[in-house]
């Protein structure tokens, strides 16, 4: 087969054409998939909010808050029922995980007791770190009904002098989970206190 002769003109022409067509095709696929990708994230968040606030069904009010020393914002979804604060679902994260990052939803009642926790996104090692997920082990159950705000529940793994039983061979993931829940508790505390001051 005869190779096509290369000169500057046809080289630039063909490459430009390929790049243009490629970008156009990609842009098309991007536009088609974007609503679905975004929608999935919203649906996932809504589902998680529902899961961590058992007994609550209604709209939540979203407040973003960035704690001092933190890189990212935490989102507090305040839940009001009949004009009174029912609790809140806090979308929190940790950057201390084994694979750098995972995000959780933590539900609190109005007094700051933890109702439920739910993993939103993680990449922890299957068979080890992924046991933070409710479906894989009962690790996360020990957080339920605890109240990080009034210090009776020391939210650290036992190795660090806390009360949380770490997952065997996955101390980093367990520690990261505590870090995320602590961040949620702190954010929830600040947001609810601020609300009270305003009124």
């Amino acid at each position: 087969m005869a190779k096509k002769e290369s000169n500057l003109r046809n080289m630039i022409f063909s490459l430009t054409l390929i790049v243009l067509v490629a970008s156009a095709a990609l842009a098309g696929v991007y536009v088609i998939t974007k609503p679905s990708i975004d929608g999935q994230q919203v649906a996932k968040t809504q589902e998680a909010i529902k899961a961590v606030l058992p007994g609550f069904s209604g709209k939540t009010e979203r407040v973003a808050i960035k704690l001092p020393n933190d890189a990212d914002s935490v989102f507090v979804n305040l839940a009001y029922q009949d004009g009174e604060l029912f609790g809140g679902a806090v979308q929190t994260y940790t950057d201390k995980a084994f694979k750098s990052y995972f995000s959780l939803m933590v539900g609190f009642d109005a007094a700051g007791n933890i109702l439920e926790t739910e993993v939103i996104k993680m990449e922890e090692t299957p068979g080890l770190g992924d046991k933070i997920d409710k479906s894989k082990s009962n690790f996360s159950e020990q957080f339920v009904k605890m109240c990080p705000a009034n210090n009776e529940f020391n939210l650290k793994v036992k190795k660090d002098g806390g009360t949380v039983d770490a997952i065997t061979a996955a101390t980093i993931s367990s520690r990261a989970y505590c870090d995320a829940v602590n961040r949620a508790a702190e954010a929830f505390d600040i947001v609810t206190k601020k609300g009270a001051n305003n009124e």
Binding site: A22, L26, A71, D72, Y93, D95, F98, K99, S100, I172
Partner: protein, 194 residues
């Protein structure tokens, strides 16, 4: 202090080859001798750091402002390929001795998934500044060099022993790498991971 922890984390705990499985091809391919693997390592440190610097700048000042992040993969790979070519040309003109030492490794680096992998990974890390990204990349590349040099040392020793026929070459290399990865797991609680 943050950076010290990050550097230790990237080199030992989250070693790019032994824990993240990036850059396996050169790790297996260019690890016959300590000398050549060291040369490869230095070339990777150089190209990877430069590549991440350029791609982070493009990400922050071109792709994000223009909402073109879906072109990330395609842009980054082209930038890296062009960058490697440019480094090759510049080295050839300005420093023939360095070119002689590193030149043969440069074309191999374009298809080294570690370069593209790290360039993409740092853009997905929350709250990473460009300086963070560059330090992270340099440390990761040093981790690559460390792993490939240790591995070359092991393979030099392996040439002296008799290995069953079916295990010669790639199989025994992979199993050795597995044992090396196990040894590196010993570092896993050294620092909080990044």
């Amino acid at each position: 202090m943050e950076y010290v922890l990050m550097i230790i984390g990237c080199i030992f705990v989250n070693n790019i080859v032994l824990a993240q499985f990036l850059g396996i091809c050169p790790f297996l391919g260019v690890s016959n001798k300590i000398n050549t693997s060291f040369g490869m390592g230095v070339a990777v440190i150089f190209v990877m750091t430069l590549a991440t610097l350029v791609t982070s700048l493009i990400q922050n000042y071109v792709l994000i402002p223009m909402d073109l992040t879906f072109l990330k993969t395609i842009t980054f790979i082209l930038v890296i390929a062009a960058l490697v070519q440019m480094v090759e040309i510049v080295l050839k003109k300005t420093s023939p001795s360095l070119y002689q030492a590193l030149g043969i490794f440069l074309p191999l680096i374009t298809t080294n998934c570690a370069v593209l992998g790290v360039a993409i990974a740092v853009t997905e890390k929350a709250g990473f500044t460009i300086l963070d990204s560059v330090v992270y990349t340099a440390a990761t590349a040093i981790g690559f060099t460390l792993a490939i040099v240790i591995f070359a040392g092991l393979r030099e020793q392996m040439d002296l022993v008799k290995i069953p026929k079916g295990m010669q070459g790639v199989p025994i290399s992979l199993i050795t790498a597995g044992i090396l990865a196990m040894a590196f797991m010993g570092f896993s609680n050294l620092v909080p991971s990044f």
